[in-house]
């Protein structure tokens, strides 16, 4: 089982940007402990949700041939709480992509409210310069993870 922190993609421009939606609900048990009587979505899980949004965007750009691993959180600034019932919009954009890695910028919004700015770096781990080898099978992009793209509106990149 994977812990999936986005519900669906609503925009997907291959190699450029993507938008995913996450509906937050009190059915998520951890919210009862974080915090008792004051349920808010943990910020680390917002980073994970952005890593999934941006990570799938980066993976798709190379046709899921690379193993894309979150390597660095360049920036994570949180502006407001996220509560049960909120619908989050996670927008991710590829800033740079090279054979070894990619860097993305992103925002999380809820309605008109800015919730977070999250900029990330991903490594294509098979291309690491230390020459370390990883299992052949792509353990990052399993069918379950890729199924998130089903029904997403695909648009071909201009270039």
């Amino acid at each position: 089982m994977r812990w999936i922190w986005i519900d669906k993609f609503v925009e997907f421009n291959s190699g450029q940007n993507a938008v995913a939606i996450k509906n937050v609900t009190l059915a998520e048990e951890h919210l009862h402990d974080h915090f008792p009587g004051f349920p808010i979505m943990p910020e680390c899980l917002m980073i994970e949700a952005m890593a999934q949004t941006a990570g799938i965007l980066v993976g798709e750009a190379k046709k899921f041939q690379e193993k894309v691993i979150l390597a660095k959180i360049k920036k994570a600034v949180f502006h407001d709480y996220v509560r049960p019932g909120d619908t989050l919009r996670l927008s991710a954009k590829i800033e740079s992509i090279a054979p070894e890695a990619a860097s993305t910028t992103g925002t999380i919004t809820c309605g008109d409210k800015l919730i977070a700015d999250i900029d990330l770096m991903f490594s294509h781990i098979d291309q690491n310069l230390a020459g370390k080898e990883f299992p052949k099978e792509n353990f990052v992009f399993t069918d379950m993870f890729k199924s998130l793209l089903q029904g997403a509106v695909f648009q071909k990149a201009d270039k």
């Binding site: 360049k74 740079s96 090279a98 070894e100 860097s103 490594s123 310069l129």
Partner: protein, 131 residues
């Protein structure tokens, strides 16, 4: 108009402060990326991406940070030191860096010290001139 060395240094400083979360005054030309500024391998890619954006140049990672490929080649490394061939290769690959001091005792453990803020400024300058 061509940028002066000071202007390039200022931009490089901003890149380092953003990429490594260090203070402005730590980023001196002599500061080593790994030793003084705490850079790790993924940070080098981050720096490459940011330099490309800041200066509008294209950087092959190999070109700016060739050390890793060098270190993994047995022809260039023996007993924790670069061989004569390795030193020659390093010189050829890093024309923007003065390796003469390092070449006197080319221990691998000293190799990271070649990667300084000043070396990046040299590299960017050479790249801007060539453009």
């Amino acid at each position: 108009m061509a940028m002066t060395r000071e202007q390039v240094l200022e931009q490089v400083k901003t890149v380092m402060v953003d990429a490594l979360g260090v203070d402005d005054d730590e980023v001196t030309p002599e500061a080593t990326l790994m030793g003084d500024l705490g850079a790790e391998s993924i940070d080098f890619l981050d720096i490459v991406f940011r330099l490309e954006k800041a200066f509008g140049i294209k950087i092959a990672r190999e070109e700016l940070f060739p050390a890793e490929t060098l270190m993994n080649n047995p022809e260039f490394v023996s007993n924790g030191k670069l061989t004569a061939k390795g030193v020659a290769e390093l010189k050829a690959k890093m024309p923007h860096t003065d390796v003469s001091e390092f070449a006197k005792n080319p221990e691998l453990s000293k190799l990271p010290d070649l990667f300084t803020v000043g070396m990046i400024v040299n590299y960017v300058e050479s790249k801007l001139k060539a453009a």
